[in-house]
Every structure is written in C-alpha cells, then in structure tokens.
Symmetry: C2
Subunit: 318 residues, 2 copies
C-alpha cells in the first residue's frame, strides 16, 4: 500500500476538525459540479499524511485513521457552510500538533517548486490559500520540508491506527437519535421503533423478515447469527419510512455485515457480490468470504435496487 | 433439536417478566446451594415452550426466544427478591396471553398423573405451587391439556423467533451506562472511558492493544476488521478496572466476536477453542470457523485466565 500525502485548507472549520479528529467536506460544489478536492476525500486511505493549513500557518499534521464515510455535516459547524449539502464525506484523522508551526509564506521560495502544477493548494507566488482548494495531493517532499522547518521529526513516523470508525458512527448516530427523541411530530411508539431500527431491531427487523430470510453470502438462516443491516445506512436515511423499510435491509452474518457497512463489499442488482480493491485478498480469505461464498442467483427486487444504488455510490469503496 | 416444555411459578415477578418478555432467576439459592429450578434456566433453548403460573392460574404461554444470559437482577423488580444475588440468569421469552386462563386446581385430577415425580412445580394433591420451584421441566402432555382446557390451540404452534438478545443486552447496558453517568465518584474523563469501553473503544481498546494484536481464531491483524471484545462482559464487570483492563479483552473478527459474546465458543487457558454443543456444525462451517481455524499455541497469561474462567462458567453454553 502506497502512502499518499495531502494538504488541507480549512480556515473556517479548522478548530472543529482538529478537536473532532476528522476532516469533513461536501460531496460536490454548491452548484452541483464535481470537485477534485472533494473527490480526494474518498481517495485518502489509512496511514496517509495530511498537512493542516489554517490562518496562514501549518500547525498540525495528521494521519488518516480510516477511509472516508458518508456523514451529515457535523453539528459543531453551526452556521458555517450553510450553503453546503447536509451529506458529505467525513475522513477520520489522528492529529498531531507541531512543536513550531510553519508559515508557508516564509518558505515560499523552497516550497513553490515542490507544489503540484494542477490543483495546488496555495498560490506559488503569494503563499496564500487557493480559493476553491480543500484536500489537495502533495509530494512527500513537501512534508519533509515542513518537518525540517518545524524541527519536528515526529510527524514523519507512521502512527499506530486507532480505529475511529465505530466512535464516529456512534457519535453521529447519537446526535440523530437525540433529534428523533425531541421531534414532536413523532409518537412515542414511532420514536421507539426508529431508535430500535438503529440497532437492527424492532419493526425494521420484522419488516426485513418479510423480504429476506438468509445471509446472501454465507447462506446462514439461524436468526441468532444474523444482523439486520440497513442497505442505505440508518444515519443517512432521510425519512422514517426509509429507516423502517424492510426493503432497505439485508440479513447478514457479522463478518459480511462489517464489510458491507464499511463499504468493503456491495452487491449488483442481480445479486452478485462486489469486492472493493481496498480490501486485501488475505483479509478476505481470513474472513472466510472467498472460500465460503456461493454466488446467489437471487436478483434483488426493484424496491431493494433503489437502496443498493445508494450503497454502491456512497458507501462502497471503489 | 428436541423441543422441551417448562412450567414457571412466578407470583412475585409475574407482571415484570410478562411485560418485559423474559424470565429472571438467581443462579443459586440464598444459602449458596445449587437449585435444579435455576439450572433449568440454562437448559432451556430457543423454541422451548413455557407455561406461566401465577396467582393460581396459567394465563400466559411463552416461547423461549434465546438462550439464557448472565444478567443483573432487572431494575423493575424493585425491592422484590432483595436477598437474591445481583447476578442471575435472564431467559428471553415471547409471551402469548391465553384466551381463557386455566386454573390447575380445577383440573388437578387430570393434571396430577402428567406431572413429574421429582421437581414437580405444584402439589399433586392441592394444586398449589411448590415452595422452592421456579422453572420446572414438564411433559408435552401438560401443554396439550392446558391447550384443550383453554380452548386456545395457538400455543401449540411454534412461533417465529424474534431475536431478543441484542435488545435485552442493549437495555441492560443502557441502565448501567446511566448509573455510570450519575456516579459522582467518577470524573468526567473516567465516565467517558467507561462508556467508550462498552463499545470496545477508547482506553480499553488501547490497553488491549498492549496485550493482543490479532484475532486468535482467524489471525487477522487489520485493526479495521477487529472488534475489541470483553472476556468478562462489560455488563457483568463490577469495577471500573475490570471494564478498562486490557487483560479482560480479545481482538476478534466479527463472526468470532458474536460466537464468543453469546457463549457459542470459549477458550481453554492454553489457547484451545471450545465449541458449544448448542451451535450446529453446519452454522459453524458457514461462519468459516471450522475451515479457517488454525489452532493457536499461544497460551493466555494468568491475568487473562481469571477472566476466561468467568467466561467458561457464566457465558459459555455447555
């Protein structure tokens, strides 16, 4: 696995993102156009290194601790980015504060030749941040220059990954659950069912039981060994109907549930499994998928395909 | 799998157990002696049928929806059973209320010959509940008699299992989490770490990382695919130290985590896997354990063995 190096311009959301241990961006520009700087959020992978640039200086360096996940705009952003879409990419990062911050403006002559020709995060003339840049690819040499200037070699050492995915999902889900509990338009029964659906229980699970009866990958039918997993994740659902819809679920063995939930696998509409290139063949074999998997010939019904399209586009790691 | 039939005497806790969808008993009598009526809680298996006897009548019949789990005395018992140990067996049940309740006293002549000689739940002479009886094994003929008398055939039909384990554990854990949040003797950092440990995150996970580095069953080392699982469950831990102790954890692949958590597998002190007779060979193979498992020769250290002894005695399904 090759380590990539990144530079993020995040004046507006700097404090929240450093404290929260992540980066967050919309998926597209306000006008709906694709942005390479946002696409980079999905290219970044565990162990990649990110230079944080805010308020004219680089004061923090981070290691990506997990792949980006589709997540609502963090509530701690408040009014910032009110024109941004509610759903974006959240990239978990373990940040490290530099002993001495580095001002790119002060070293622009050494820095400029190392910056990329296209999608440079700052102007090679002025050292100011480029207007539209967010997460930009840089050369390893930029990191080495910053390390030298700050006198902080620590940032060159690979950090142990502390898995943040579960923490982050739990915190996002917790905020959504609070909103549900405070929503006066819902009855207490509806609230209970929506909250139970978060853990694959209650009405959601019984609705799902009308649609699916076994894990499509392992063939297991023993309900004690199956997890009722949302296709479009609970946190990404917009309506109560989506959260409780039996067509928005699959019964999955725990290993398969983890792979599906984290986007390491997905399914085609005709029931074939899709395996992400980001999952190693050895891990896949150790998870018992390669050896155990029997191709399911059971096509998904159209109601399921709508949710699967979301999963392939927004969850699956391509 | 053979269906077993049971009779429970639960005057005191009848309302709570019917509403809550479970049975709960201490593990031993107040004087520490073993009781067959409590041992039966661990023998009962999914799909078994239970007649509920309370206030001189049988008004409910239930289907066991999961194996018993070690669980604290339900808080809704209040002052009831204040001499019972805090930790007991909780057996998840899907209850069904009879159209017409049946009074054993009224049919004692037909009933008496069908009742067991030893460990009968009621007196064959008077039809009153026997003092020490809780969950007693009965013959299928008793169920058929009750069905005839109540005119309710529904109770003879096997019910679909709605898996209650996750619901019940979540509710027990939620109550414990509330107690932790309200405990003035803990700092806010300690509270946060104890709550994070519930989901295998935070300090517990990093402590565990000092002790274990791979799943002992699949050999997976990729942290993204591993769950930090408590050996002695989080809900059963008495002290903060136990909840955060790295020696009280294993890094497990999700399938293995589920099996270990639900007591379908355990480990000997020298690292051999123990497989419960309650798990079918087909399910085991489909979970990829049989084909994938490489015997680990890595003995557990003494600190881990203390927790493993608890797991084998209180969690493992024998």
């Amino acid at each position: 696995v090759t380590t990539r190096y990144w530079w993020v311009n995040h004046n507006q959301t700097f404090r929240q993102e450093i404290e929260g241990g992540y980066l967050w961006s919309p998926k597209r520009e306000a006008n709906g156009a694709r942005s390479q700087f946002y696409e980079n959020m999905r290219i970044a992978a565990p162990n990649d290194v990110v230079l944080s640039f805010a308020h004219t200086q680089i004061a923090n360096v981070g290691h990506v601790s997990d792949f980006a996940l589709s997540a609502p705009k963090p509530s701690e952003f408040g009014a910032i980015g009110s024109n941004w879409a509610i759903e974006g990419w959240l990239l978990p990062i373990a940040w490290h504060t530099l002993r001495t911050p580095v001002r790119p403006k002060d070293i622009i002559e050494q820095l400029a030749p190392l910056l990329p020709a296209k999608y440079s995060p700052i102007s090679k003339q002025t050292g100011n941040g480029n207007q539209k840049a967010y997460l930009a690819a840089i050369d390893e040499a930029v990191l080495q220059l910053v390390a030298r200037e700050s006198g902080d070699d620590g940032l060159l050492v690979p950090q142990p990954i502390d898995t943040r995915f579960a923490d982050i999902v739990n915190s996002i889900d917790g905020i959504i659950e609070k909103h549900i509990q405070q929503d006066d338009s819902l009855s207490s029964t509806e609230k209970e069912q929506l909250v139970k659906a978060r853990r694959g229980q209650g009405v959601f699970r019984s609705n799902l039981g009308q649609v699916e009866n076994a894990c499509r990958v392992t063939g297991i039918t023993n309900q004690q060994l199956l997890i009722a997993s949302h296709i479009k994740p609970w946190r990404a659902c917009i309506t109560a109907k989506e959260r409780l819809d039996g067509y928005n679920g699959l019964l999955l063995t725990p290993n398969v549930d983890l792979l599906f939930d984290r986007g390491f696998i997905s399914f085609t509409d005709d029931g074939q499994i899709l395996i992400s290139p980001k999952l190693s063949a050895l891990d896949l074999e150790r998870l018992g998928i390669a050896s155990n998997w029997k191709a399911t010939t059971k096509r998904f019904v159209p109601e399921q395909c709508l949710y699967l399209a979301y999963h392939r586009a927004e969850v699956f790691l391509q």
